[in-house]
């Protein structure tokens, strides 16, 4: 089985690609929202908006990697994979990355992208929404730069 790129399934109605589409669309929506909020953050300032950028940015990667996982799993196994994603992987980016590495044809982040993944995984968690922490715009920018790089890597083709 060859690794599927996210652009392979295009706009056509591929029923078996439903989860791929669902996660990819979610990722794209979070990406657009995070970029919009980032554009509204004042330079050299700390803000809750910058924290929201990071909060949304993490979901970009979570949804994207889940799209990659489904795109590279046989459709007949999607139902089982969906349960695994929901009950075992959840929001855990480390488990998600490991799961990609354990595919029949393993998908591994290149070393540079691995470093960006580490940056994202260390700064992002779903509890950010409760902490009320004000992040600095530059940190949010750096976080989104890392997100952008991983998005490009996934969209250009996982090989």
């Amino acid at each position: 089985m060859t690794a599927e790129t996210l652009s392979d399934w295009g706009e056509e109605d591929h029923t078996e690609m439903g989860k791929v589409r669902e996660f990819h669309v979610s990722s794209s929506q979070h990406h657009a929202a995070a970029k919009y909020l980032l554009s509204a953050c004042l330079p050299n300032a700390s803000s809750l908006m910058a924290t929201e950028v990071v909060y949304l940015g993490g979901y970009v990667i979570e949804c994207l990697l889940k799209a990659v996982l489904f795109a590279n799993t046989r459709p007949r196994k999607h139902e089982m994979l969906e349960r695994e994603v929901k009950f075992e992987i959840g929001h855990d980016l480390e488990k998600l990355r490991l799961r990609l590495e354990r595919l029949r044809k393993p998908i591994r982040l290149p070393i540079q992208h691995g470093r960006l993944f580490r940056l994202i995984n260390t700064q992002w968690h779903t509890n950010l929404r409760y902490e009320g922490k004000r992040m600095v715009t530059q940190e949010a920018q750096q976080f989104m730069d890392a997100v952008d790089s991983i998005v490009i890597w996934a969209n250009e083709g996982v090989r």
């Binding site: 929001h91 990355r97 700064q123 940190e139």
Partner: protein, 113 residues
């Protein structure tokens, strides 16, 4: 060893984690003597590191990473590439119980909700 899709998460020490501890201990001699306070293998291929040190005060995440870049480089790409969580915090930040990532580090079996 059987290869499973979802190996159990935990705090495991390996040759790689011991190497990481040794390197960071050389740079930060006042790190705890308990290895798992600093580094452990969360999952196969996923190592977590937490360095608590006052030298990180007033620095951004990127600047903190630069402070430990020499250690990461010395580890080599194979080991460095397995570090999936790198918490670099000051003692004051570590005291704040609201620091979720520190709790995630302390309890790898807990939910990341």
């Amino acid at each position: 060893m059987t290869k499973t899709k979802n190996p159990a998460a935990g705090k495991v020490q390996t040759k790689a984690t011991r190497t990481i501890y040794k390197r960071f201990k050389e740079k930060f001699p006042d790190l705890p003597d308990e290895v798992e306070e600093v580094v452990y293998q969360y999952l196969p291929g996923a190592i977590r590191v937490r360095i608590i040190h006052p030298s990180f005060a007033g620095k951004s995440f990127g600047e903190r990473e630069l402070l430990v870049a020499d250690v990461l480089t010395a580890l080599g790409e194979e080991i460095e590439g397995r570090i999936t969580l790198l918490i670099l915090m000051t003692p004051e930040e570590a005291k704040k119980q609201s620091r979720h990532m520190s709790r995630v580090f302390d309890d790898p079996t807990g939910e990341r909700l």
